[in-house]
């Protein structure tokens, strides 16, 4: 951290004196004993007491903000919305974050209903409260506004009002995705809104953003992936948002690199699941006759891994004509 970030705590003359001594970062400054530092400064610039007061003020402002447990619990209970989804518990729990998670990963093979589930979650999110806004980041060009409009035609509020609160962005690489997210989140200040969950972001799919930068010979791609996910968590925390990241699957390989047939796992490597709070694995029930998800097939959402709720818990639901419904029987 540069000392120039703390201009309100240091006088300009003191800042210049520190730079002459080669001290430009907070770490170098704070780890020097204050008396040694005082001796190295030019005479008559400041007193020892003033210097110590300046150092403790920098230390306070450069450290992480504290969180009270009471406020966290308050935030948790306030952000839970009442059940809206006619009994499809997977949608209720998705919107409530399975506890209080910020970033939820939805993964599964092709055709298992990941995008449909996310669209239904956004629809319920927007209909539940007029102040809520949503952002859909399309990274493959496959987002269909018509499907979203048809889905929203089943709800009672007018389509246009709902659609005004849904924003759509296209981002084909990580740089564009960063720009979209920074621009969308920038109006929100750093104060946390404990009142209720205000925003929801869906990234469909995060695999196309992060997959191309991962490489077996360099860890830079992995560093960028970790930074991106940390930034998502940070932005969602500041602006009280929930992020749904849709991830594809890859083939499971054994120790020697050979493919284990018929076994798939979430893409982006074994560490990606630890960068999100909950990983939801979608699959279709094997004995269902219909192969297309839109024709009333039964799906299972299994909690693959979670920080905030019980792992291994499953939800059953059906998808009929793009609408998620609870499973009968």
């Amino acid at each position: 951290m540069r000392l120039t970030r703390f201009r309100s705590d240091i006088s300009p003359e003191l800042l210049t004196a520190f730079e002459h001594l080669g001290i430009k970062t907070v770490a170098r400054l704070l780890f020097l004993p204050s008396y040694d530092l005082f001796r190295r400064l030019p005479p008559n610039l400041t007193t020892l007491q003033e210097l110590e007061a300046c150092l403790s003020s920098i230390a306070e402002h450069s450290s992480a903000a504290h969180l009270r447990g009471r406020d966290l619990i308050l935030n948790d209970t306030c952000s839970n919305s009442p059940a809206l989804s006619d009994g499809a518990h997977v949608l209720d729990d998705l919107l409530n974050g399975f506890g209080h998670s910020r970033v939820i990963e939805i993964t599964g093979d092709e055709g298992t209903g990941k995008t449909v589930l996310a669209m239904n979650a956004i629809k319920h999110f927007l209909t539940s409260d007029r102040r809520r806004r949503a952002l859909w980041v399309d990274t493959t060009g496959d987002f269909s506004l018509e499907r979203m409009v048809m889905l929203c035609e089943t709800c009672t509020t007018s389509d246009l009002a709902l659609m005004e609160r849904l924003e759509v962005a296209v981002a084909f690489d990580i740089e564009e995705a960063y720009n979209v997210l920074e621009t969308w989140f920038s109006p929100f200040n750093s104060k946390r809104d404990y009142q209720f969950l205000q925003h929801c972001v869906v990234i469909d799919t995060v695999t196309s953003l992060l997959g191309p930068i991962l490489s077996p010979v360099s860890s830079q791609g992995h560093a960028i992936m970790v930074d991106f996910m940390y930034r998502l968590r940070e932005l969602s925390g500041i602006s009280s948002a929930r992020v749904l990241a849709i991830n594809r699957t890859a083939m499971e390989r054994n120790v020697r690199g050979a493919v284990i047939l018929a076994k798939r796992k979430p893409a982006l490597g074994p560490s990606f699941t630890y960068l999100t709070d909950v990983t939801l694995w979608l699959s279709q029930v094997k004995d269902s006759v219909k192969t297309e998800v839109n024709q009333g097939s039964v799906c299972i959402a299994n909690i693959y891994r979670s920080r905030t709720t019980v792992t291994g818990f499953s939800y059953r639901f059906t998808i009929e004509h793009g609408v998620v419904r609870p499973c009968e029987g």
Partner: protein, 289 residues
């Protein structure tokens, strides 16, 4: 200036560690820095420092997100003037969407594209017609446009821009330059690419290269449709695909039946906003109604 980390830019390892040692962690830290000071402090070249400063100070000028309502409001339909296709499209092609028309030789693929072209010209919007296989000569375009020339609309010929592309390289250059072309001709609202599959019949094109090129085309078309609200029509030939009796792909020796599929496949089109129509013959004497 945001508190986005400098790791996300993807700088070389030495530069990143030099930045970290000097305490530069986020975009905010580089807000007031100049390229010369940075180069001196980090002991790197002026060019490298300038590149870092440029990345940090980029502010996107175009709006990056659009609301769903704004996208819905651009729902003007443009008919192809072929009744059966218009019925399939529920009146016509929506603005900002893509229509791919493929069919057997002799089917009215280009006629459908020209029908949409006249729909756009009738509302005084400009069209860019790209011909990849010399299927639609300039004279035919002039003939069609002169038939809709009226007293109120004397300039319909000036509304259509025509260009020919024959090779894969020319097509990719055109696709890469599409944003610049649209910027220079702001009134162009329809792009027609006739026989888009023809340049892809390049003899030494490997599957990986082909997929990469198709992906580039898809990205460019999606961005043009989303940000410039461009409507696109492409036409393509069909290719014969042979399947064995059990449905797996076969060759001419092992195949039990052949099916005709669009030559390029769906990889070059964004599936969320594309309509793909295949025209086929019912019998030797039938046409379209």
């Amino acid at each position: 200036m945001s508190s986005r980390s400098l790791i996300s830019i993807g700088l070389p390892k030495d530069t990143l560690s030099a930045l970290a040692q000097c305490g530069y962690e986020t975009f905010q830290d580089l807000e007031a820095a100049t390229a010369e000071d940075l180069a001196k402090e980090l002991n790197i070249t002026n060019n490298a420092a300038e590149k870092i400063i440029n990345v940090v100070h980029i502010t996107p000028t175009v709006p990056l997100t659009q609301s769903g309502a704004a996208l819905m409001n651009t729902s003007c339909r443009f008919p192809t003037k072929i009744p059966s296709i218009d019925r399939l499209l529920r009146g016509g092609l929506l603005r900002g969407h893509i229509l791919e028309v493929t069919g057997v030789p002799g089917s009215p693929k280009e006629t459908a594209a020209l029908g949409i072209m006249t729909s756009f010209v009738e509302v005084d919007e400009e069209v860019l017609f790209v011909d990849c296989q010399n299927m639609v000569p300039c004279a035919k375009l002039k003939h069609i446009l002169s038939s809709i020339l009226t007293k109120e609309r004397p300039e319909s010929l000036a509304l259509v821009h025509y260009m020919k592309i024959h090779t894969m390289a020319d097509l990719m250059v055109f696709i890469q330059r599409l944003p610049l072309v649209l910027e220079a001709h702001q009134k162009v609202k329809l792009l027609i690419i006739a026989s888009v599959s023809f340049p892809f019949q390049y003899p030494n094109l490997t599957l990986t290269s082909r997929n990469a090129l198709l992906d580039t085309v898809k990205q460019a078309l999606t961005k043009a449709c989303t940000f410039k609200n461009l409507t696109i029509v492409t036409t393509s030939q069909l290719a014969t695909k042979l399947l064995k009796a059990d449905g797996t792909p076969g060759t001419f020796d092992t195949g039990a039946k052949g099916i005709m599929v669009p030559q390029l496949g769906p990889a070059y089109l964004p599936s969320g906003r594309t309509y793909r129509v295949i025209l086929s013959r019912v019998g030797p004497t039938s046409g379209y109604d």
